[in-house]
């Protein structure tokens, strides 16, 4: 039996179906991320788990118990909100103690637990401060401690990092993941940031327009996308237009240069025009001998980004971006320089559906 189960979940607002046929089973201690663009239904699904929204259809079970129609305060769930949601009239210690206080725990037990949680978030000396006296990162850590203080069965994180600056975001996401692992708490994380999803999750649920597009480990979702949406949404992707020469062997032409596509969504018909996808990091510059596919092009743009040099290579109608590491001994090519780019057949994925 899975610890958290969502079965056939649907949410309808008037004529709009915002979540449809959502099925997910989460193991105890697993970190699962809902990833998708704004309006894809990920936050609505999270709010249904929390009890703020009641599903129009389907069932939610936690540890075997049906909680679909229970109120939020009956579910024993912890939640961290995007905008911190700390109670402004309470100190840090009072915020962390709130869930324990309303549960009627003794003041001694509350004091002990609050001390433990402030130690966990590494803010033991901040108990007497008010939220306005803390930075955004500190406030979110307090919000995390408040959510965990009640020893919830499930922890819900609703874009908790999106209001923070980049540096804090990076360090806090590592802290959250490390804390989640050490406590072994089942966690659902909502984000539209693919890097967060890929770096933190045991599994990712990619959502689009209320539907689940793919569920899988970050490696699987990134390298083996099952739908065109997943391929284009997760990671950076070059999408080119190619014509199928021989569907059986995967031979296609891109701007009259023949290459082999090792992977395809659906069958390839000879003569049809399809979109093909290629990750920038799969492409090597001037390394034709190493990889089986090679194409000739012209450097159209060079951007020096410090550790990385990003280049854009144009073939004829199509162009691709590729990244190379900065090498002080080998300056990047000039704009207009002819180059050869190479990649392996299995890096070239023919997408489903119509051409791009």
């Amino acid at each position: 039996m899975k610890f958290l189960e969502l079965e056939g979940i649907q949410k309808v607002y008037g004529p709009n179906t915002v979540v449809q046929d959502f099925n997910l089973s989460v193991d105890k201690g697993e970190f699962v991320t809902f990833l998708g663009p704004s309006g894809c239904g990920k936050t609505t699904t999270l709010r249904m788990i929390a009890g703020f929204e009641i599903p129009s259809a389907g069932a939610i079970r936690i540890n075997g118990k049906d909680v679909t129609n229970l109120k939020p305060n009956q579910r024993q769930i912890g939640m961290v909100f995007q905008a911190y949601a700390l109670f402004p009239n309470m100190t840090v210690a009072d915020n962390v103690a709130f869930g324990l206080k309303v549960a009627g725990q003794s003041s001694e037990a509350i004091r002990k637990r609050v001390g433990e949680m402030l130690d966990v978030i590494k803010l033991p000396q901040f108990g007497d401060r008010y939220p306005y006296q803390l930075s955004g990162g500190q406030q979110q850590r307090v919000a995390l401690a408040r959510a965990l203080a009640i020893k919830p069965q499930v922890l819900l994180l609703d874009e908790p990092l999106s209001a923070l600056d980049a540096k804090i975001r990076l360090s806090l996401r590592e802290e959250i993941r490390s804390l989640q692992r050490s406590l072994g708490i089942t966690t659902i994380f909502v984000t539209h940031d693919q890097e967060e999803a890929l770096s933190m999750s045991d599994r990712i649920v990619v959502m689009n327009e209320g539907r689940v597009e793919q569920i899988g480990a970050p490696f699987e979702v990134y390298n083996f996308p099952r739908t065109r949406f997943v391929a284009s949404f997760v990671g950076t992707l070059n999408i080119l237009r190619g014509k199928v020469v021989d569907g059986a062997s995967g031979r296609i032409t891109i701007d009259d240069q023949q290459v082999i596509a090792g992977r395809s969504m659906g069958n390839l018909q000879n003569g049809e025009v399809r979109s093909v996808a290629l990750r920038p990091e799969s492409v090597t510059l001037n390394g034709a001998g190493e990889k089986r596919n090679a194409m000739q092009g012209i450097i159209e743009e060079v951007s020096f980004l410090g550790a990385v040099v990003r280049m854009r290579v144009r073939f004829r109608d199509n162009a691709i971006s590729l990244d190379t590491f900065n090498n002080p001994g080998a300056p990047p090519p000039e704009r207009g320089a002819p180059v050869t780019v190479s990649f392996q057949p299995e890096d070239l994925l023919v997408l489903e559906g119509e051409t791009h």
């Binding site: 939640m79 949601a85 700390l86 402004p88 709130f98 309303v102 008010y130 959510a147 009640i150």
Partner: protein, 302 residues
């Protein structure tokens, strides 16, 4: 050899000392009418009546005017004024807050809120003779509501002891503008309660009552306190409504003050100044209490 820093020092031409900026700001011209108005119609009259409270008719210093405030009729007037002001402020605060909360927090139709706020904007300014007449025409002995209740429901309002020209009559009349004023002040304060606070408290196990007890009311406390005090001051200083409604049958301090200053039978302008000075003191004390309570309730604010 000239080192680089010296070379830069030579290369950069000496900057002329910046001209001393004028300290006069033209913005003062914008606020001059306000300052003039405040001095002429607030500060100067206040100082004038404070000084007058300590003078006799010939302009000599005296404490007799203050001593005269202890007359039973004046003490009674202050007591009635305070009772009406406090009662109408508290009732106005309670009902106004509840109505504002219903409009802001619950799932009422969208058209209701702007309608309520528009009505409140008008009603909060509806006072004086028109308001008194409106209540006489509806709840007076021959008023429309009194008549309808008696004719169609057989209920004689005045047989219950109700009298519009009484403490409760004046309090109910004051509530007509007190409640809308409270709605106008509390609506933005209630809008400031974040949905996430309620959701966070719920997910942490709190009931609705616990959310209001521990989060919402403490957050609203400064606004509630300030608005209630404003309602108190609003009622305490009101004269036209009370005078138009009750004439001199209800002895409140503003009516007494009005009588003293305009030249009644017992005309004594300096006693009038002392009455006004007493009102300033009461308002000052209530403002001081408000500032103290608010500072305690707002420790968590920046």
């Amino acid at each position: 050899m000239v080192d680089q820093s010296e070379a830069q020092a030579i290369a950069i031409p000496a900057q002329p000392a910046p001209a001393r900026a004028s300290t006069f700001s033209w913005a003062w011209i914008g606020v001059t009418p306000f300052l003039a108005f405040a001095v002429l119609f607030l500060i100067a009259p206040t100082l004038f009546l404070i000084v007058g409270a300590f003078q006799d008719a010939q302009g000599h210093f005296t404490l007799a005017n203050l001593a005269d405030l202890a007359q039973p009729s004046i003490v009674r007037a202050y007591r009635i004024s305070l009772e009406i002001s406090i009662t109408s402020a508290i009732l106005g605060a309670i009902f106004g807050s509840l109505i504002a909360a219903a409009a802001v927090l619950n799932g009422l139709p969208g058209w209701l809120r702007p309608t309520l706020l528009t009505f409140s904007g008008v009603a909060s300014q509806f006072a004086g003779v028109p308001l008194a007449f409106a209540f006489l025409a509806t709840l007076g002995r021959t008023g429309l509501v009194t008549y309808l209740l008696n004719t169609y429901l057989g209920f004689n309002l005045y047989s219950t002891g109700f009298n519009l020209l009484s403490f409760w009559g004046l309090t109910i009349t004051y509530l007509y503008f007190q409640i809308p004023l409270m709605i106008l002040i509390m609506t933005p304060a209630l809008d400031g309660l974040k949905r996430e606070w309620r959701e966070a408290s719920a997910i942490l196990g709190a009931s609705t009552w616990q959310y209001w007890r521990y989060v919402a009311l403490p957050v609203l406390w400064p606004s509630l306190l300030g608005a209630t005090l404003l309602l108190f001051a609003n009622a305490f200083g009101a004269v036209a409504t009370a005078y138009a409604l009750t004439g001199s049958s209800l002895n409140i301090v503003t009516i007494l003050l009005f009588a003293q200053i305009r030249g009644d039978v017992l005309h004594n302008a300096n006693l009038g100044y002392a009455l006004a000075f007493g009102m300033i003191l009461i308002t000052g004390v209530s403002n001081g209490a408000y500032i103290w309570l608010r500072s305690r309730g707002e420790r968590w604010l920046k």
